[in-house]
């Protein structure tokens, strides 16, 4: 059994909570005491139906104001897969939460109300999903029951969205007509839409192929921690020196020739160690410990790669940055801390090339700063070299976060598009 992480985009009005509620309920991930609590609260509030959004709105302020503030993580499993849902709110702090939820997602579900069709909001969701390079996208056209399960309406929405998506380089795009309320095409195929030849949503989630979404080509091993037991009594451990980390790309095997950055020195992998014994190979997302044939001075923040396949060693990078801070704005000369893989450096904003309107995709080159929930293309200069790939090639070696040194808050997320 493997794991599929997916994000859901849409508002309560689109039936997102109902859809999640149905997936959880039909897969028995909602328990009787949780359902009773939700029923009790719905009753107390005078709501006529059981409000399933109360299951995901976990905080007091959310329940009091009837809004979703933050990303909530929900879990369910079928015999085929374990699922982690990043449920992102529809309105408040939208970009910030959606970017966060999408950063680790294998798949995103965008909900569209069949009566309303493709709205500005749907385009924004699709744009953010592709910006974050979520490999699989599902357009769930919901409330089909309210358009008489019309094939013509579904096709109309499909065509309109496909035309828009061609501008985004959306990768794998699947359209499913559903009714979350009645369960049509959610867990099982609907008899109300015999014209639909695809699978139900849950079947798609269970079967979509994600193993090849990881980068298994470019070997990238950011050194996270150096393990030195310093064991005086056990002679075999006395000189042990292992480089611990999580594989960010490629497949590593004992005997492979590897290069260390920043030194540029080459050596071979002596062994790949784990608590459970030596390993024949390591690949993402495994956390392992590597020993090398030669004694090289290696510390946290360094990178191990292959001599003929190296990341860019760069101090000047171009990136799409999503700004997440409330008070301060990002502008040329802003000084920030940048964390990329296991390396942290100080950075200064050299240039804001343009601000992107997430609804129209218009590039505003006259913009002089980015505010909360705005996205733009930025040039950054770092105090130390970073070992980077384009985000499109590897999300783990192409993504970084920005931290404000005065507040210590995480204020931005960056996706590298070019490096020098």
């Amino acid at each position: 059994m493997d794991i599929l992480r997916f994000a859901t985009a849409g508002s309560v009005d689109d039936g997102k909570s109902t859809l999640i509620g149905r997936l959880l309920f039909d897969s028995k991930a909602i328990f009787e005491d949780q359902l009773e609590a939700v029923e009790r609260t719905s009753r107390d509030r005078g709501t006529e139906y059981t409000d399933l959004s109360l299951l995901t709105d976990g905080l007091r302020a959310e329940r009091e104001q009837g809004i979703t503030i933050d990303v909530a993580y929900r879990y369910f499993a079928t015999p085929r897969r374990k699922f982690i849902i990043a449920d992102t709110p529809g309105h408040i702090q939208y970009t910030r939460n959606m970017v966060t939820g999408a950063s680790t997602a294998d798949l995103a579900i965008i909900l569209i109300d069949a009566r309303k069709g493709v709205l500005e909001q749907s385009r924004r969701h699709a744009f953010l999903t592709t910006l974050l390079r979520v490999p699989h996208l599902v357009l769930a056209v919901n409330k089909m029951d309210l358009v008489d399960y019309s094939e013509a309406r579904f096709e109309e929405i499909r065509e309109e969205f496909t035309a828009f998506a061609s501008k985004l380089n959306a990768s794998d795009l699947t359209f499913i007509p559903i009714s979350a309320l009645h369960g049509d095409n959610v867990v099982s195929r609907s008899e109300n839409m015999p014209w639909y030849e695809g699978t139900a949503l849950l079947h798609h989630l269970e079967h979509v192929h994600i193993a090849s979404d990881r980068n298994l080509v470019d070997v990238r091993f950011p050194v996270q921690y150096v393990i030195r037991p310093h064991n005086a009594t056990n002679q075999s451990l006395h000189d042990y020196r292992g480089y611990a980390g999580q594989v960010a790309g490629g497949v590593l095997k004992p005997g492979d020739e590897v290069m260390h950055l920043p030194s540029g020195l080459t050596t071979r992998i002596k062994s790949i160690d784990s608590f459970d014994g030596a390993l024949d190979e390591a690949f993402p997302p495994m956390s392992v410990t590597i020993r090398l044939e030669d004694d090289i001075d290696i510390s946290r923040g360094d990178m191990i790669c292959r001599p003929h396949n190296q990341p860019h060693v760069a101090q000047e990078i171009d990136a799409m940055v999503a700004w997440m801070a409330d008070g301060v704005r990002l502008q040329p000369r802003s000084k920030l801390v940048l964390k990329h893989t296991t390396r942290t450096a100080r950075t200064v904003v050299r240039d804001l090339q343009y601000r992107l309107d997430v609804n129209t995709l218009h590039r505003d080159e006259t913009a002089t700063s980015l505010g909360l929930n705005e996205i733009g293309r930025v040039t950054l200069r770092t105090t130390q070299p970073l070992f980077v790939d384009d985000y499109a090639r590897n999300r783990l070696t192409g993504g970084f976060i920005l931290i404000d040194e005065t507040t210590n808050g995480t204020v931005g997320a960056g996706m590298i598009v070019d490096a020098h």
Binding site: M1, F31, K82, N97, M324, T342
Partner: protein, 304 residues
């Protein structure tokens, strides 16, 4: 030739993520510690810590907030495990906080030291100058926890502000704090109760005996079976009887209920947990039943 698929099982993915989190803490903080109660989640967390730094020993101490109302079987287990690992255990005692006048013992039938633990925990964090504290909490446990970060910032009063959390992207964690502040770190955030049991099964990890079905003297309160013990205030209208039970969670004797069960092996527990229709905290924890936001309110104060 068939190409390998490189599919990774859910337990391997969860373990790799938790190991990554632990190494990140060891690399970026000065004084981390790991909360170890002898409960199943912290037992799993301890195994992950062992794996993360092997063949070196775990590079931080363990801490237990001891209410004095723990199950003796669990305390025995805790001490045995600590000795096996040759780890350092710091015991923060709620009784000592009461004796020092830091907190007041609750009175009455429902008296519990559950809430008092927060003061003891925060005092111990301050005294030992811990800057990162590992906890075994999982997001599937409770709805306030579903919204908490893996690296959860606490101000210098130990408080959690759910409306002002740091965004968490990819596998990049912001570890920056000022002196006096700390981060609660939850490496098992994405595990479910069943994942924990599958992992215990796969790894062959020992757990305290009270997780398995046994005969115990209990009495019923609010639909829960509480253990008969001198620390539990029992009314005359709450008769004692013998029942075959096991514990699904392990907390204080005063507020942790047993469930009727005949499961005597991990396999049988997995079958039981997979079939149950009640959440673990709903079935067994009086402390969470106080109100809709009982956990959120305690967490804001600095609870686990």
């Amino acid at each position: 030739m068939l190409q390998r698929d490189y599919t990774t099982s859910q337990l391997d993915v969860l373990e790799a993520e938790a190991i990554h989190v632990m190494r990140e803490v060891a690399a970026e903080f000065e004084r981390p510690c790991l909360l170890f109660s002898g409960g199943k989640d912290s037992i799993v967390m301890l195994r992950v810590a062992e794996k993360a730094f092997w063949p070196a020993p775990i590079p931080f101490p363990l801490m237990h907030v001891d209410t004095g109302h723990n199950f003796p079987e669990v305390i025995d287990f805790r001490d045995r495990r600590v000795a096996e690992l040759n780890a350092r255990l710091v015991v923060a005692s709620v009784q000592a906080s009461i004796d020092a006048g830091r907190v007041m013992e609750e009175t009455g039938r429902r008296a519990s030291r559950n809430r008092l633990q927060t003061t003891t925990l925060l005092d111990a964090i301050e005294e030992n100058e811990y800057d990162a504290v590992f906890g075994g909490a999982r997001r599937d446990e409770e709805k306030a926890r579903a919204k908490e970060r893996v690296f959860s910032f606490r101000d210098d009063f130990g408080q959690w502000d759910p409306k002002n959390q740091r965004p968490e992207l990819w596998n990049l964690y912001n570890t920056r704090i000022r002196k006096g502040e700390h981060i609660r770190v939850f490496p098992l955030s994405n595990w479910t109760e069943l994942d924990i049991w599958y992992y215990i099964q796969r790894e062959g990890i020992e757990i305290p005996s009270i997780y398995f079905a046994h005969t115990r003297k209990v009495f019923e309160r609010d639909g829960m079976l509480l253990s008969d013990d001198e620390v539990v205030q029992r009314g005359d209208d709450e008769p004692i009887f013998e029942a075959v039970v096991r514990y699904r969670t392990v907390g204080d004797m005063t507020c942790t209920g047993a469930v009727a069960s005949t499961a005597t092996t991990v396999e049988q527990i997995i079958e039981e947990v997979a079939a149950t229709r009640i959440t673990e905290r709903g079935a067994t924890r009086a402390d969470d039943r106080a109100s809709e936001a009982a956990m959120e309110d305690r967490k804001k104060e600095g609870y686990f």
